[in-house]
């Protein structure tokens, strides 16, 4: 939350805190994001993974997909948007109730990717305003979670400037193909 001031009552010893109403509202909003996954293409597979057991987007209070734009706060544009799809995307965005945010998931949604041809919209920002860009073809789930954190930060600050998920410093071991141990132990630890 924004400005928080904790006050301990002198007489009773009970404590309470004060903050601005907007901050409290934003704090509540950012932890209960209802999303509309506008999944069209390859990135949808990674979106599955983010929602899946290993990466588990539910940890951030953003697991509930709502397939009605009227009920959702965040529009995830996941995948390539073709010219033919454009009107549908615009209409869905317009149907969403305020406040609403748009996340552009993957390179195709952000700038058209290597489909710079007659049928692809070079970035959904040509049609709807975008809050967070997540580059990658498709982005790794870690990058998606980074993007979600950025969005939460934006909601808290009330900031509508577009932001982009930036690459992290690559650890040395990740660059060695095949020399790296598999990231997560399997079977015995997760799900079972």
């Amino acid at each position: 939350m924004g400005e928080v001031k904790t006050i301990v009552g002198a007489a009773s010893g009970e404590s309470f805190f004060t903050t601005k109403f907007e901050s409290l509202l934003a704090w509540a909003r950012k932890y209960s994001l209802f999303q509309y996954p506008f999944a069209t293409a390859c990135c949808g597979m990674e979106f599955f993974s983010v929602a899946g057991p290993r990466y588990d987007i539910a940890r951030f209070g953003a697991e509930a997909p709502r397939f009605s734009p009227r009920q959702s706060d965040v529009l995830w544009v996941v995948g390539t948007i073709s010219q033919r799809q454009g009107p549908a995307l615009k209409r869905i965005y317009e149907q969403m109730a305020e406040p609403k945010w748009v996340v552009s998931f993957g390179t195709c949604a952000s700038c058209g990717g290597f489909y710079d041809n007659y049928t692809t919209i070079p970035g959904v920002d040509k049609i709807v305003p975008v809050d967070v860009y997540i580059p990658g073809c498709p982005p790794r789930p870690e990058a998606v979670l980074d993007g979600l954190m950025l969005l939460m930060e934006k909601i808290q600050n009330g900031n509508r400037e577009p932001v982009t998920v930036l690459p992290k410093v690559v650890p040395e071991q990740a660059q060695l193909r095949g020399k790296r141990a598999l990231p997560v132990t399997r079977g015995d630890k997760e799900g079972a």
């Binding site: 069209t40 597979m45 290993r54 549908a88 598999l182």
Partner: protein, 406 residues
């Protein structure tokens, strides 16, 4: 039967209120339409009287884009055709160009391609079955199967460097030889994968809701399936044992002992079970391939006109630098002509009809997408069923937008 229904039947439709057919739009952004597609339905009550299936919402100009790069630059596009099993597309396209060039990859490379391809096929079938179950409300099996997909993706990532869009195939081999612990890694997950297949079956196969919605729904006859050009699990579910790996063996598939599962009715249930059984058969193939695969030897052909030289040599010798420059800038020169090469993709016969005019650029790359023809048959599967039956039927056809619309 409820007493009220009996009366209605006896006194015929006199009691029924006549209703105009209703026109309903489904899609292009519909929760159950994984991928993106639009259906215009004519409904009588809840029965589908007519349907116009409209693909094309993910048309990305694949074929046009291929016509302006070199042959090798097609690989990233090919990855994104069937994005659930990119490795199979990689291998399919590499085989097509190799057929045009008339070259053959060394044994080790062939086994490597088989193993990676079969891993991709397992992912493909797991995703399809999991998504079908999820759309019917069974969320647990979906998460269960996604778990396995992440294990397999770990291996593929370790081998290729990318989780799903690998671009790992090369004309004349693979981008790199198998890593050191490759065989052990694959062997380690095999029993686990097999266990999860059993667990998913235990979760679903005795579930009344699941059975009711899969059995006898979305039927397709054998003759219609053949005339419509249906291939893959959808064709096999109708009772036709056509598998490219068996009927026209490519790579080293003739050296393995595996079965082709077939269904009887061509309904959703058969399609689900064919895919489940194919996962087991893929595991069998992988086991045998791991046994037979040599530990030493090249995975790619040794021809500087086709394969890029090693990076170390590019930086140290002038010959390799020139070869590298020529291959990257001009592309390899394929002889003039046209070939059709086909492999078994995740959804059926994945064919590439490629035309070369003798330059370094493909003149035409036509992909025969299995989904395109499978989806064409979806109209006949859906018609006459209830509107709710569209969801499991469409799920088991497994339309992949990238491949279908290209």
């Amino acid at each position: 039967m409820e007493p009220a229904d009996e009366i209605l039947e006896e006194e015929d439709a006199a009691l029924e209120i006549p209703a105009d057919p209703m026109r309903l739009n489904m899609g292009p952004s519909h929760p159950a339409m994984h991928g993106t597609i639009r259906m215009v339905l004519d409904l009588d009550g809840e029965t589908v009287m007519n349907v116009d299936v409209q693909p094309g919402y993910l048309h990305r100009g694949f074929e046009k884009s291929c016509e302006r790069g070199t042959w090798s630059q097609v690989f990233p596009y090919v990855d994104r055709l069937n994005y659930v099993s990119p490795m199979l597309n990689n291998v399919g396209f590499a085989l097509a160009v190799e057929k045009l060039l008339d070259v053959k990859v060394p044994d080790r490379g062939q086994y490597y391609r088989v193993i990676l391809g079969e891993l991709a096929r397992i992912c493909d079938h797991f995703t399809c079955n999991g998504a079908s179950a999820m759309e019917l409300g069974a969320f647990t099996p979906f998460l269960w199967l996604l778990k396995v997909r992440d294990w397999i993706w770990d291996i593929l990532e370790k081998e290729t460097g990318a989780r799903m869009t690998h671009s790992f195939g090369r004309i004349g081999g693979m981008a790199a030889p198998p890593t050191e612990g490759f065989k052990d890694d694959v062997r380690a997950i095999m029993p686990e994968v097999r266990k999860v297949v059993g667990e998913a079956e235990a979760l679903l196969l005795k579930n009344r809701i699941f059975l009711d919605r899969m059995e006898g729904v979305g039927k397709l006859s054998k003759e219609r399936a053949l005339a419509l050009g249906v291939t893959g699990p959808v064709l096999r579910s109708t009772g036709v044992a056509y598998d490219v790996r068996k009927d026209h063996p490519y790579l080293v598939y003739d050296r393995f002992d595996f079965d082709v599962p077939v269904g009887t009715d061509g309904d959703n249930w058969d399609r689900f079970m064919v895919r489940t059984e194919e996962i087991r058969q893929s595991l069998r193939i992988i086991e045998q391939a791991l046994e037979q695969m040599p530990d030493e030897g090249p995975v790619s052909i040794d021809d500087p006109r086709i394969m890029l030289p090693e990076k170390r040599e590019v930086y140290s010798t002038i010959e390799a630098t020139i070869a590298h420059f020529k291959l990257v800038m001009e592309g390899l020169k394929a002889p003039k002509g046209a070939v059709y090469s086909f492999t078994e993709g995740g959804n059926g016969e994945l064919g590439f009809y490629i035309v070369s005019d003798g330059s370094g650029t493909p003149y035409r790359v036509r992909v025969r997408p299995p989904c395109w023809f499978n989806l064409q048959a979806a109209r006949e599967m859906i018609m006459g069923d209830m509107i709710a039956d569209i969801i499991p039927t469409f799920g088991s056809v497994n339309m992949i937008g990238g491949e279908c619309d290209r």
